[in-house]
């Protein structure tokens, strides 16, 4: 039954939505604003909000002091690499769980998810030691593999959910039409699951991009991504809020822009199959 919504009610809803939205967005806004202040204005009390001397000095200093492009490139490789590798492994895994489930499939899925419930720090020591033993500390390939493994349960789960929405008869039809397993995955399943795969890739890329725990602990110079770049501005020389904010803004800008352009795809993928 449709409910009548009065104009007043609509206005109230709008106001509430904007308030909540602003509340969530405020820290980011504050970071961006602070990045244009001088260090003195950044810690002024009471804080200045808009009326300060806008300056690009912080960005200059940050760029001068550290090579932003190298951190950015590391982030792209680590987030992109771990996502691609994860999807390559997860598509066949999710296919088998969705279309040829065994008695244990449900248990396996739950077990995979349970690994996400373990605090990361719980396995820091073994993984750190392993990296030392293998000589891959501060190594991009090692981070690609580790982040892939950490996000794999989520990728498999998401793809599994999308694949479940695809009628099995269509895959059977492909088999009757002479398609082998490879053709079935390549020409039928994957194209049909494109919205789901795209949003999985996007979400996972964002997760890997923002991953700080492992990147901070396992990198120092060569493989350090943007998360390490931000962290490098936080403590050693005391608290330089304006420069820290400039670094943060530079680190989150690429992913914010990517998210902005792909928001439609992301929402469509996340609600895929929710409504028949």
């Amino acid at each position: 039954m449709a409910r009548a919504v009065t104009t007043q009610r609509k206005a109230l809803n709008t106001a509430v939505a904007w308030t909540v939205g602003l509340l969530i967005f405020f820290p980011i806004l504050w970071t961006v604003l602070t990045s244009f202040k001088t260090e003195a204005e950044a810690i002024a009390n009471p804080p200045v909000i808009l009326f300060f001397d806008w300056t690009l000095e912080n960005y200059g200093v940050v760029q001068e002091r550290s090579n932003y492009m190298r951190f950015l490139w590391n982030s792209v490789i680590i987030a992109g690499g771990s996502t691609l590798l994860g999807v390559l492994i997860a598509v066949p895994a999710a296919w088998s769980m969705a279309f040829v489930p065994s008695k244990r499939t449900k248990d396996i899925l739950l077990w995979m998810l349970s690994t996400k419930m373990l605090p990361a720090v719980g396995v820091l020591y073994p993984i750190y030691l392993l990296c030392i033993q293998l000589g891959v500390l501060d190594n991009r390939v090692a981070l690609v593999v580790i982040l892939m493994l950490i996000n794999l349960p989520i990728i498999v789960w998401m793809l599994y959910t999308y694949f479940r929405e695809i009628p099995g008869e269509i895959l059977e039809a492909a088999r009757m039409d002479g398609a082998g397993l490879k053709e079935e995955l390549l020409y039928v399943l994957t194209p049909m699951a494109v919205p789901g795969i795209a949003s999985t890739i996007l979400l996972n890329f964002i997760l890997a991009w923002n991953e700080a725990f492992w990147t901070l602990n396992l990198t120092s110079v060569d493989a350090a991504p943007l998360t390490a770049f931000i962290a490098s501005y936080s403590s050693p020389e005391g608290l330089f809020f304006a420069k820290l904010s400039a670094a943060s803004t530079m680190a989150i800008a690429p992913i914010l822009i990517l998210g902005w352009f792909s928001q439609k795809q992301l929402v469509r993928g996340l609600t895929f199959g929710a409504v028949k």
């Binding site: 009757m176 039409d177 053709e183 020409y187 194209p191």
Partner: protein, 334 residues
């Protein structure tokens, strides 16, 4: 060629045996219909022939070759699914060409065959559309098109018309029969609708709980049902089945009489009854008559001009030449 032989084919899902060992031969060019109530194993049997399910025992031969372990892609059979199972991301042209593409046929030949199939099925104007832009009947045609392009040894149809509305169903039924006459390829058709079975089949296989109850031509089954189940299942409206003292007076546990084999009179006859609901089809009328000593109302078929009212008293007499007698095991008494 498309001769398919099932030799002691058996299927169980875990502990449950859905198809006990079963033998069946389908001759080349035959139109065979598997019919039975839902859950009788007819679709499973078709999927075993297709290779979409593995047999639990026995052997499937296609043209004399053992195909039991051959994957579906290599059996040379084409299948039309109830849900059409079209590829939603491909145009009609690509859908129909898909099996040819999988067979790595050259592009010119693919195009020629797709055109020919589209001609036969009136799809020429829709080749560049996606399945989502087609009506149910058109989608069904695309599914058939995809099956015929590769010239398979046999076609398998799994309840292909059940998603269509009644008028379209009759039309498609004729089209499929027409196609069979033209291609002369073996067709195996699964349905729960005995009218489809009667109108299309060369040979009907009646199944119940995985067992074959009877195999024969539609009229053979109609005239000489081997048991009570087939008698009751084939024919619309259903055969009247009467047991108790009336059956005993004919030396049988159950007698069966088709609605058109009962004579109606308002003066004299064997059974006195009261007219209940009547269904007027124009050409025919079906009366449901409750008779003394018979638990179920009897269905009687008379010409469209006969006019009886609710509650009228009538006499019914079964035609003794068309009386079917069954023993206490439900088997036909010769």
């Amino acid at each position: 060629m498309g001769r398919i032989t099932l030799d002691k084919v058996r299927k169980s899902f875990g502990e449950v045996e859905v198809i006990p060992p079963l033998d069946l031969t389908i001759e080349d060019g035959e139109f065979v219909v598997f019919v039975g109530p839902s859950g009788c194993g007819k679709s499973t049997l078709l999927r075993l022939i297709a290779g979409l399910e593995d047999v639990s025992g026995g052997e499937i031969r296609i043209d004399g070759q053992d195909a039991t372990m051959v994957p579906p892609a290599k059996r040379g059979l084409a299948m039309v699914f109830q849900s059409y199972a079209l590829y939603p991301h491909m145009s009609v042209r690509k859908n129909i060409a898909f099996p040819l593409r999988m067979a790595k046929m050259d592009a010119a030949e693919q195009e020629r065959r797709v055109k020919a199939a589209a001609d036969v099925l009136n799809l020429t104007d829709y080749l560049d559309r996606r399945p989502g832009q087609l009506s149910g009947g058109q989608r069904q045609r695309v599914a058939i098109g995809r099956a015929i392009v590769r010239e398979p040894a046999a076609f398998l149809f799994d309840e292909p018309l059940s998603n269509l509305d009644a008028a379209l169903r009759v039309g498609m039924r004729l089209e499929i029969s027409e196609l069979h006459k033209r291609l002369k390829t073996t067709m195996i058709y699964v349905t729960h609708d005995q009218v489809e079975a009667m109108t299309m089949a060369d040979k009907i296989v009646v199944l119940r709980a995985g067992h074959i109850e009877q195999v024969g031509s539609p009229l053979e089954l109609y005239r000489n049902p081997r048991n009570v189940f087939v008698a009751g299942f084939i024919g619309s409206p259903k055969m009247n089945l009467v047991d108790g003292p009336i059956a005993a007076s004919h030396d049988a546990a159950t007698i069966g009489i088709r609605p058109e084999h009962i004579r109606v009179s308002d003066e004299a006859g064997d059974w006195l009854g009261k007219v209940g609901v009547s269904e007027h089809l124009g050409s025919d009328t079906f009366f449901h008559v409750t008779c003394e000593g018979i638990s179920e109302p009897l269905t009687v078929r008379v010409g469209g001009e006969v006019d009886l009212r609710y509650g009228d008293k009538v006499w019914l007499s079964p035609d003794p030449d068309h009386l079917h007698r069954f023993d206490d095991k439900g088997l036909r008494i010769a």
